[in-house]
């Protein structure tokens, strides 16, 4: 690969004439390096004389060359940039598998109490008893909602939780002399993180086919099970938006074969307070606090992925964990026996624990169940309103919290799922998840969440129906040209990948022939 890390010249392209570029309230914004320079700073700090006797001769000689902005410049730069983002607060964000629900601001306010935000992970445990109590309370809610034996709070996100859960399974099997179990079963419809996690730990991934109705076949699982199988990684409700009707039988078959059942909890929002995964026979499941329990998605994190564990896996939980001791709550940071050790420095995502517990207390047990039911109601409502004009690949079951469509309704229209999604942008909606799950052709996975009102859902369905009708009427150009009302039109992803430009450099520093 020939790599070009040089920035392209300042300034936008030749055409600034479409609505997509620099419209009245969404001005184009230069890069901060094009606005600021190394002299500007938005922070007042005293200049001090340095005593270099402790620097060992390692003082920096390489130029930092970091542009700075004064406070008003920084404020304007980041406010302007922010206006080029779609967000939950500005419109429906039905991104399947991501649970883009309302983020209450009480969560943010509580997370910023100095008693939570301004405490250090390694200050004496006697000085953070409230933090440990909070971790205990959050654990209680998670264990109660899942009916499981133990919870490891520390994973940093869902995929990190998966890793920890599968590590616990590996540790348990190694301890039981079952290290020869090297295969993990993963349904074809699974999130990409599942096979990536299993492979990360050295397991061989064996796919399990889905039935024509979109659910996992217990007979196919039984046929795939062998003394080499360590675990199955199953998402439930699954990525097709369906509850696995044979999940208890699958769990039984997996356990009978001496393997473990890892459940991907990405879709827990559909069943919280209504179904307890522990009652289904799961051994480990991560819970995305940023999805189910409304800690914000933040443009791509931070998340939090606590993992609940069955009795069989509880002894293999990592450090740290909280327990009651003689002088109050203790934080166990080292265990010699059977321990996975630790999967992150310190104690995990405290800032997310605070937000999630705040959300749980606000909702209560009753409200969480109602939220799950409303999420399922909303998805079924969208499916009911659109099923006659869209195509539903798995019509046999009621959907859970996601409505899944395939692209057969677009056959011969010249419009793809991608085109359709881009046309939704022009109508003010964030598109649904596209082309996932992989088992459905041209998949459109719509997750409205419980946060959308009937009025919003009706407008969404009206727009979706109108778009589908227009596509079928032969107006492909509207779709293939879209979006035209967004801050940018379609971006050249091939060029980005073939000639990667991953950082800005001064035009003056560019070689004459940069490309």
């Amino acid at each position: 690969m020939s790599m070009n890390t040089q920035g392209r010249p300042t300034g936008t392209g030749t055409s600034g004439s479409t609505a997509a570029s620099g419209s009245a309230l969404i001005p184009d914004e230069p890069l901060l390096f094009e606005i600021g320079d190394t002299e500007h700073s938005g922070v007042d700090l005293p200049e001090v004389t340095i005593d270099d006797s402790f620097l060992g001769g390692f003082e920096r000689k390489t130029k930092l060359d970091l542009a700075g902005l004064t406070e008003p410049e920084a404020m304007r730069h980041y406010v302007r940039l922010s206006r080029m983002n779609h967000s939950i607060d500005s419109g429906m964000y039905p991104l399947g598998s991501c649970t883009m629900k309302h983020n209450p601001r009480l969560n943010e306010k509580m997370a910023r109490l100095p008693g939570f935000s301004d405490i250090h992970p390694l200050q004496p445990v006697s000085t953070v008893q409230g933090a440990l109590e909070l971790m205990n309370q959050l654990s209680h809610w998670l264990l109660t909602l899942t009916n499981t034996a133990a919870v490891a709070l520390s994973p940093k996100a869902g995929a990190h939780g998966e890793l920890l859960g599968m590590m616990a399974i590996k540790a348990a099997q190694d301890a039981a002399g079952q290290a020869h179990r090297t295969v993990v079963l993963v349904p074809e419809s699974a999130h990409g993180t599942n096979p990536a996690t299993a492979a990360f730990l050295g397991y061989t991934v064996k796919p399990v086919p889905a039935k024509a109705d979109g659910t996992v076949d217990v007979e196919a699982v039984k046929a795939a099970l062998s003394p080499e199988v360590a675990a199955i990684m199953l998402t439930n409700p699954n990525t097709c938006g369906l509850f696995e009707p044979q999940v208890i039988e699958i769990a039984q078959a997996v356990h009978d074969a001496g393997a473990f059942f890892y459940c991907d909890g990405a879709n827990f929002n559909a069943i919280m307070g209504v179904v307890r995964p522990g009652d289904l026979g799961i051994d480990a499941m991560h819970i995305n606090l940023h999805k189910t329990f409304s800690t914000p998605h933040g443009g791509g994190g931070p998340g939090a992925g606590p993992v609940v564990l069955s009795q069989a896996l509880a002894p293999f939980a990592p450090v740290p964990f909280v327990r009651k001791g003689e002088k109050g709550l203790e934080l166990v940071e080292h265990v010699e026996e059977h321990a996975l050790c630790r999967v992150t420095a310190f104690h995990g995502q405290m800032g997310m624990y605070v937000r999630a517990l705040t959300y749980m207390l606000s909702h209560g047990g009753d409200g969480l169940a109602q939220a799950a039911q409303d999420a399922v109601l909303n998805a079924n409502y969208i499916k009911a309103r659109l099923q006659h004009i869209f195509s539903v690949p798995f019509p046999n079951y009621p959907t859970m919290h996601e409505a899944l469509f395939d692209d057969s309704f677009l056959k011969d229209t010249g419009v793809t799922t991608l085109d359709f999604a881009k046309a939704m942008i022009d109508e003010g909606f964030h598109p649904m998840t596209m082309y996932f799950p992989l088992v459905v052709h041209g998949a459109m996975l719509v997750e409205p969440t419980e946060s959308e009102s009937k009025q919003t859902l009706d407008r969404f369905c009206d727009v979706m129906a109108e778009l589908a009708t227009d596509a079928k009427a032969g107006n492909a150009a509207r779709f293939t040209a879209a979006p035209v009302k967004a801050p940018r039109r379609r971006l050249d992803e091939t060029r980005a990948a073939r000639q990667p430009v991953l950082k800005w450099e001064k035009p003056a520093d560019l070689p004459q022939a940069a490309e």
Binding site: L55, G56, L64, K156, G158, H290, G301, G348, P500, L502
Partner: protein, 451 residues
């Protein structure tokens, strides 16, 4: 329930459109034995003010860092975060967006990530940086795996100055790997990592300033590693140090991992934090995590997208470089805003001020009878040896309202050699009065203990 928009009549109307008798009909695929077969026994929903009362009571049981003199570091540092940063990251458009899967309506996040990657590359002196990982510890484990993929060799050597939690995370990620060598803790800055490098070595991992505060010679480490075809992974837990100390990229580092919490992010009892990773351009295809790149749109206007996704789990599944998906987006935003506010002038002044205060701390500690400073070099953190076990002394000082640092035994409980050691940090927030009070209390505690 204030977060749920439907009225009872709307729910009934919607069920009618669906053609379901009641909401339970929507859960018909759930085995009967598992559907609401329980009483959760959880409290019912509460008004906002009651939730707030509950949370405030918990927060009040903690001693906040700002409540008194504070010298705790060891991988997480208390710095001042400008008010602008926290205001901006709470804007809806930043806070309530997700991973920029639809670039046309995510240019804010994407341009910010491009700027962030540029800032990280500049401070580390490396060619390219990614769009963040969870934190420094998991980033270190990812760097180790990346080095194994790049060199197709197996042996990894961890310096005795690496943060013990980071070491433990690498051990968990490389469980039972016979080629993982963890050198013993080196509180005096000693170490024989160079002699461990051989032809089977994929990488050596060196932290600077190290866990005990010593500044390590990266040039020598890089030269020794490269002579054997091994890579140098540099770990930095205090990213502010890069404002005063030489960039690892200029000294031969191949992969640099930093904990970025110090810039823009609060202590938060350990998370969420921010993993920074930077590397050489030729290693980019083996890098984990998201990357943002520049391109053009259909009208030729500059724009940004996530790129080189064929490394990632959602495309490559079991062949991906990592399983990471959600990373630390909002923490990266906070870092980037704070770094923009600092700029070169501010970042340099901040680093100098940190070191300046640390020198004052070191000199004052040197006057306390019985206290021995183990560092010949440091940035803003150092290790002292007491004549008595450290943990009870730290506890005693905490009761007096002084958070005096971290007893090394908390992280190395099975190592008697470190029982009397404390790691302490100073930042721009450390005052002369704080340092005087620490010295006074330390002196009293040691005397009390000796009696």
């Amino acid at each position: 329930m204030r977060y749920l928009p439907h009225s009872a009549s709307e729910r009934a109307e919607m069920l009618g459109v669906i053609g379901a008798a009641d909401v339970d009909a929507l859960f018909s695929a759930v085995p009967k034995s598992a559907l609401k077969s329980f009483d959760l026994g959880l409290p019912a929903h509460q008004p906002e003010f009651l939730v707030e009362t509950h949370m405030r009571a918990l927060a009040a049981k903690n001693h906040a860092a700002g409540d008194g003199p504070f010298f705790v570091g060891a991988g997480a540092y208390r710095h001042h975060v400008p008010a602008t940063v926290d205001h901006l990251i709470q804007r809806s458009e930043w806070l309530t967006a997700y991973t920029p899967y639809q670039p046309e309506i995510s240019q804010g996040t994407l341009q910010m990530l491009f700027e962030f990657q540029t800032q990280v590359a500049k401070i580390t002196g490396m060619d390219v940086a990614n769009a963040s990982l969870y934190d420094g510890s998991t980033g270190t484990a990812e760097a180790v795996l990346m080095a194994k993929r790049l060199t197709k060799k197996n042996k990894i050597v961890l310096s005795g100055g690496l943060h013990p939690h980071y070491r433990d995370v690498v051990k968990a990620y490389l469980k039972d790997d016979p080629d993982l060598v963890c050198l013993s803790p080196s509180p005096e800055g000693q170490g024989d990592i160079l002699s461990q490098i051989d032809g089977n070595t994929a990488a050596i991992v060196v932290q600077t300033p190290d866990f005990y505060g010593h500044l390590r010679d990266l040039k020598a480490a890089a030269d020794a590693a490269h002579a054997h075809g091994a890579l140098l992974i540099v770990v930095i837990t205090e990213v502010v140090s890069l404002g005063l100390l030489e960039a690892p990229g200029a000294l031969g580092a191949d992969i640099v991992v930093c904990e970025g919490q110090s810039i823009g992010n609060a202590l938060n009892f350990g998370g969420p934090y921010l993993g920074l990773m930077a590397t050489r351009k030729e290693f980019i295809r083996q890098m984990p995590g998201r990357l943002c790149g520049e391109t053009v749109d259909a009208d030729g206007n500059r724009g940004f997208v996530l790129t080189l996704s064929t490394r990632e789990q959602h495309i490559r599944r079991e062949k991906a470089t990592s399983n990471i998906c959600t990373n630390s987006g909002l923490c990266a935003l906070a870092f980037s805003i704070h770094m923009s506010l600092l700029g070169e002038a501010g970042f340099t002044r901040l680093a100098r001020l940190n070191h300046h205060n640390a020198v004052k701390l070191a000199r004052m500690l040197g006057t306390v009878p019985g206290v021995e400073l183990l560092n010949k070099s440091f940035f803003n953190e150092m290790t002292i040896r007491l004549p008595v076990p450290a943990a009870p002394v730290v506890e005693m000082l905490a009761q007096a309202g002084v958070l005096a640092g971290v007893p090394v035994s908390r992280l190395e409980p099975y190592n008697p050699n470190v029982e009397n050691l404390i790691v302490l940090a100073a930042t721009e927030l450390t005052t002369h009065a704080d340092i005087e009070m620490l010295a006074e209390c330390l002196h009293a505690a040691i005397e009390e203990d000796a009696q």
